[in-house]
Symmetry: C2
Subunit: 168 residues, 2 copies
């Protein structure tokens, strides 16, 4: 893996970077003119979308809107739906909600697929483990039947029979 090769600080550095990136994505950094330019739309449009609850940018202490990277991405997605796909804002709202639902379902499906794989592996392993322990116990006596005695003197009787569990 690329992360753990290199300067040896790999894992810690990657994790810190990811956390930082995730924090930054949510952070309000763009005032309305910049956000509008990034999303390729009119600043007034952006205000309208906020009024309709499609985005909820942070505000500065002076009440200036501050959009995050995630806000901008959402705006671009909205822009795509309205301009390219021709949805109105009610449709955008509905579709955004559904997309979140679909994402959650996909995550759930992925979890379940993984869980099923695990279960299958666990099952094979456990059965194998129990089989092995059975074999370990039985194999040494394969040529004998043993009848336990009541006291300290067990009796051992050689027998002849085909082995079980080892067909040819």
């Amino acid at each position: 893996m690329a992360e753990s090769s290199g300067d040896g600080r790999g894992k810690g550095r990657v994790r810190r970077t990811q956390v930082k990136a995730s924090l930054d994505e949510e952070r309000g950094v763009f005032m309305i003119s910049v956000a509008a330019e990034l999303a390729e739309m009119h600043p007034q449009t952006l205000r309208m979308y906020e009024a309709r609850g499609l985005i909820t940018p942070k505000r500065s202490p002076k009440n200036t809107r501050l959009c995050s990277q995630r806000d901008v991405e959402r705006l671009r997605r909205i822009q795509q739906m309205t301009s390219e796909e021709g949805l109105n804002l009610a449709g955008v709202e509905t579709v955004l909600e559904m997309e979140e639902r679909v994402a959650r379902m996909q995550a759930e499906l992925a979890r379940m697929r993984k869980r099923t794989e695990e279960l299958q592996r666990e099952m094979t392993d456990e059965v194998e483990r129990v089989r092995r322990s059975l074999k370990a116990e039985i194999v040494p006596y394969k040529a004998y039947d043993v009848i336990p005695a009541e006291g300290d003197e067990p009796v051992r009787i050689p027998v002849e029979r085909p082995r079980r569990d080892h067909p040819a």
Copy 2:
């Protein structure tokens, strides 16, 4: 279940009824004025929806539209989205597609949940089965640990310990 109680012809009758119902649902039975009334919309609106590909009613040999029960249900769903939720037709189109996707995903999830349950049950059963066969073999030796010798002379060592697999 109510279906299988009663006159004893339950299962066959239910299946036949379901197939019949499913066929009827797809069958073009309503001319445009009836379908429009059932869906509570203007006949002209219905023609418009067909032109946009939102429904695809059958046609009679005389070219008269014939809507199925399923068409009518779809129309009512569309009506709900446009009137109550305020979507435009592009939104309706997108949402209908997404609803189908979600339905497929839910079916897939249900299948996987069932499969996981099955797997878990299978696993428990199989391990139990193997355990039981192991137990049948080793119970007679319960009071001893055995160290297999290299040759024909196994060594047996009496030990004192609680039995496994038989708590209390």
